[in-house]
């Protein structure tokens, strides 16, 4: 069975996505890393659905829908911020920093 290898690939992809969120400062690249993490979770869902029934694949649909909505709203926020600050570098967007 491919469950173990699939979960390993999923774990590595998720960790790479999380590392990207922590290491990068470009807001759009951080969004792409979030998509990468969501995709890693989808892979784990599909791998477990192979043994636990097709319901796991149905959940991947919902995750994809949430990802699409999140990308649309997030990119709208990026555009709104860029219009005010002329940058998407999160280091320069620190109005709420304590």
């Amino acid at each position: 069975m491919l469950l173990g290898p699939a979960l390993a690939v999923s774990a590595i992809l998720f960790a790479l996505g999380a590392a990207g969120v922590l290491l990068r400062r470009n807001a759009i690249i951080i969004f792409m890393c979030i998509e990468l993490m969501l995709n890693a979770v989808n892979l784990a869902f599909v791998a477990l659905a192979q043994q636990l029934g097709v319901d796991g694949q149905v959940f991947v649909f919902f995750v994809m829908t949430v990802a699409a909505a999140e990308a649309a709203v997030g990119l709208a926020i990026v555009i709104a911020v860029f219009r005010h600050r002329e940058t998407v570098d999160l280091e320069n967007i620190n109005l709420l920093r304590g």
Binding site: L22, I29, N39, F62, A67, A71, D89
Partner: protein, 171 residues
């Protein structure tokens, strides 16, 4: 089967590593598309044929086009917002946090679902062959998960309205 799985798995990992290390957002996005295609291939190997098609259409098609559209709209391709020096303290912390997360997740890999709820090997593949890849997904989606499905449509409506309100210059 196993060779194909490792081929696409390693390709996905390499492409995602390149995605988070490229300086230009455009090449980063293109490597992410490569990752998504490889994950779609993994979906096929894991008996999720319809999801693989949806992954290519929705993720690699629609969502990544949206990303590239915004990157090019804001003209971020050439002028890279200066990344911090190679090893700032926050980067070291981020690197080790990622390593710690990877270690934790790889331990979870050894978790095995209990036998009581596990289906016999090949049951899902047999169902796919019997009822078709689309029907075996759409029946639970429109019967058992009908209410979450409708809530999803409300969430999409909220996302549409939110995106328009946020991105519009003046309402």
């Amino acid at each position: 089967m196993t060779f194909a799985f490792w081929f696409f798995g390693v390709a996905a990992i390499v492409a995602s590593f390149l995605c988070i290390t490229r300086r230009s957002p455009v090449s980063s996005a293109l490597w992410l598309i490569t990752t998504l295609f490889n994950v779609a291939a993994l979906f096929v190997l894991l008996d999720a044929h319809f999801l693989a098609a949806v992954q290519v259409l929705v993720y690699a098609g629609a969502i990544m086009v949206l990303f590239l559209f915004v990157i090019m709209l804001l003209n971020l391709g050439e002028r890279d917002p200066g990344e911090s020096p190679r090893w700032s303290p926050s980067r070291v912390v981020g690197f080790f946090a990622g390593l710690g997360l990877l270690a934790e997740l790889l331990v979870l890999r050894h978790a095995v679902p209990p036998d009581a709820i596990r289906l016999p090997a090949g049951a899902v593949a047999a169902e796919m062959a019997d009822r078709g890849a689309v029907q075996s997904l759409s029946m639970p989606l429109f019967q058992a998960y009908l209410v979450p499905f409708e809530i999803t449509s409300l969430m999409l409506l909220a996302a549409i309205v939110g995106a328009v309100v946020l991105a519009k210059r003046r309402l």
